[in-house]
Assembly symmetry: C2
Amino acid sequence: MIPSAKNGLQPLPLIETPALEIPRPTLKDNTAELDRVMRRLKLDGFDPLRVHFLNMQNLMGKIRLHGQKMTAIVSCWNGHWELMDVVGPDHEGPILGMAVDLGTTSLAFHLVDLRERKVLDHLCLPNPQISHGEDILSRILFSRRKENRKSLQDMLLKAFNHSFLELTGRHGALPEDVCALSVAGNTTMSHFLLGLDATGICREPYIPAANHFPMIHGRDLGLSLHPFAPIYVFPNVGSYFGGDLLAGIIATGIHRAQGIQLLVDVGTNAEVVLGNGDWLVACAGAAGPALEGGVMECGMMALPGAIDRVRIDPLTLEAQWHVLGDEKPRGVCGSGVIDLVAELFSAGILTVQGTINTGLETPRVVQTENGPAYVLVPGEETESGQDLLVTEMDVGIFLKSKAAMYTILQVICRKVGLGFKDIEKIFVAGAFGNHLDPLMAIRIGMVPDLPPQLYEGVGNSAGDGAVMVLLDRTLLREVHEVAGRITYVELNVDQEFMNEFRGALFLPHTDSRLFPSVSTPSPEGGRGAF
Amino acid sequence: MIPSAKNGLQPLPLIETPALEIPRPTLKDNTAELDRVMRRLKLDGFDPLRVHFLNMQNLMGKIRLHGQKMTAIVSCWNGHWELMDVVGPDHEGPILGMAVDLGTTSLAFHLVDLRERKVLDHLCLPNPQISHGEDILSRILFSRRKENRKSLQDMLLKAFNHSFLELTGRHGALPEDVCALSVAGNTTMSHFLLGLDATGICREPYIPAANHFPMIHGRDLGLSLHPFAPIYVFPNVGSYFGGDLLAGIIATGIHRAQGIQLLVDVGTNAEVVLGNGDWLVACAGAAGPALEGGVMECGMMALPGAIDRVRIDPLTLEAQWHVLGDEKPRGVCGSGVIDLVAELFSAGILTVQGTINTGLETPRVVQTENGPAYVLVPGEETESGQDLLVTEMDVGIFLKSKAAMYTILQVICRKVGLGFKDIEKIFVAGAFGNHLDPLMAIRIGMVPDLPPQLYEGVGNSAGDGAVMVLLDRTLLREVHEVAGRITYVELNVDQEFMNEFRGALFLPHTDSRLFPSVSTPSPEGGRGAF
């Protein structure tokens, strides 16, 4: 998703680079060296304008070096500008920004050229904190000791610095060329990054240390970007509604929509926002173990080597698949998992309860030490040489995720007195949002049985939102405004949720009236070659 | 001088300490911990309110510790508030401020109780940079190397930290209890304190690195006060017109006067401001060697042991003197020097040229290796056991100072087309402003021959101004406004000055018409017992 201006105007970036011409000082015009540049910038509209005390001597030296002509690097803070650097008049080097989707499982970095207004490159790393627990809860428990909190923070900072070096290096630049950073993380991850006590998040009344974070200077966080680069960390709405989802709202634009739209993101957590330009309701929650670290053995991110499409012949029970990139299969990404479960179900290999039918005569169904499994790719065709298979236990974990996703949609609609039919658009973000095939998702009862054109997979909407604020500073105010008007419904304390959830664990659902298109064979099911 | 409200209202201090009562968080009101306090403060009018990122975790811990009732410490920055600390609900410890007059020769510290609105204590130290030159010029030359600039800065920081420890310790407090710092220094000293390149100050076109400084957090300057205390450094108007004089203007209030007033400060430099609520003209300058390090051998600050009053019997040529405190004499302070020269002149010991009449029959006049001298206090009565004496050379140095002072007043009045008679008030600041006896100063031609009630000695007006901004934050805007409307006249390049100066080197002046009251014996001359 490429950020776009709201009304056709050029968006206003977080960093401006005005060219300056400063008259030579004389006995008649003896304004101080730094004040001359500040005066010029203020006249050009950068007012109020500040400078960080620790940056003054550096700026002075550069102003003296460049003499009368220079390019200023000016950053936008909340309510004021800051002169952060001065470069030569014909500076052709890039003015870079970095946007980060800070997730529990992985960190996605996006390198942005702020003047050319384009994303130059990406990098995705596993969250190094996984060594202290795959799920958020165990990391929060670990963080109760101050030195552990520090250690979790340091892990993130190290990963950030490594990624800055790697991404800028690929483009012949330096980490110090990164003049702005935006971070969209879930509430706990934002706390860990900033070294804040996150223990309140997981005990009643479930409140974070802070929902709003000040803009931070690069040097204060100990990151290797420009020492005076502004760091913007998206605010949270609550313990289970983080800045990542706010960034997703900004990326999809549902906060400006006329009709009712919905954004759903099921990753480590389940999060949903419903609304339009007038109102927004959200719910999110750690609704049981399904949503905390429920990761399938064969699951992986949508990277080269990931299977993203699966078809199973209902007669032979043999599988066809498509792999991303020019590589041997290493795992299955979100859309591949949906396909796989839907096709196993359609082929009769999976029962409505999600168990594997072991009575079938096929070498594809095998017994493992974790119970029965279906071999998607035999070892001779995989990267590792091991069979790529999905076990009944994997399917069980996935069914909890899909049930949570469906249930959360039911609950939120009921809360505001709406039916699924009132929704004009559904954005699916997160692992299942990459290459989403809505018909497949409907077939397994993961999403409501609505026309497929209503669905839009938005993949990493949090990362997109984080890129957008770098390119359009007016969005900072919008994020703040959206955070203020979201009505947040706590799911943790909602018994209703658990009742609905049990029915949704089945394929597609215990109540088949909810999925009329699935009860008959679907001709548009995406079957056949791909 | 005690700071007073402009219109009888209670002034608004730089630091506010509102008592807060925060409702306990519940599932219904699950605003984040820090946000709850910020919300309360904003509702109470502290808006916009910020918090420094590096302070968040500390604040969080204290908020949690104090529960529902606490006292916030909120500091006023340019255009916003900052929550800097949280203490208990019945906090009885002092909320301290520190005001510093940062001079070339000495550093004067004033410890202020911000809640009780009173100055608790003072401390005066020699400027430790004196080891790198008594005059500003040699220190600027020394500072050309980056490591020397650092070393000059470190000397000041060390002296500041030492004084904070000493002054707070005397009152059972800690340096960390100091929640705000204001510094009024001359332009070069402000640069040295902040580690800024000052070399532009002494070469054409004589421009400083910066005239305006941002507010600084204590931790960023490496001072041992509260790490998030705001540090306010008064702006400069030019290389030879520093924040100390701006602070002096604020302390005397001439920038609000209806009639025309004048502030004169002759210390290491000669500085004058003339004007009222509508206009302000200033001149200042290193007008030759008299004003650069011209320090008399016997001179000292107005501290215990300093002679501040002198009378000489014109018949016996014997001296009477008064010493500050309950000590033996150690030296002569500014007002004592004026008395001494005036009385030596009246007694015929000094000629109109300022030479000592060695033809007199008195044991008080002696020959030293530095030429003829007058023994003010014989060795048996002094602290050191050495004679306290004033040499012809000392007198010569002093006459240059007094001539500079008078000349600068002449020049500035002529610049704006006024005569001395148009002035309704003259404030004399600096070394000569302590215990000033205007009739004595007039007798030697140091100040215009005007009615003595027009004169007011204001001693350390820079320190007073620095105290005042701590107690009345509205003055910050006033300082800024005054700095913006001062018309600054450069004296360094004014030939007129040198011509006038030569005539003023005499006692009282070559043009006796300028001092009609001195030509006849003055009955109110302050003679007799004291």
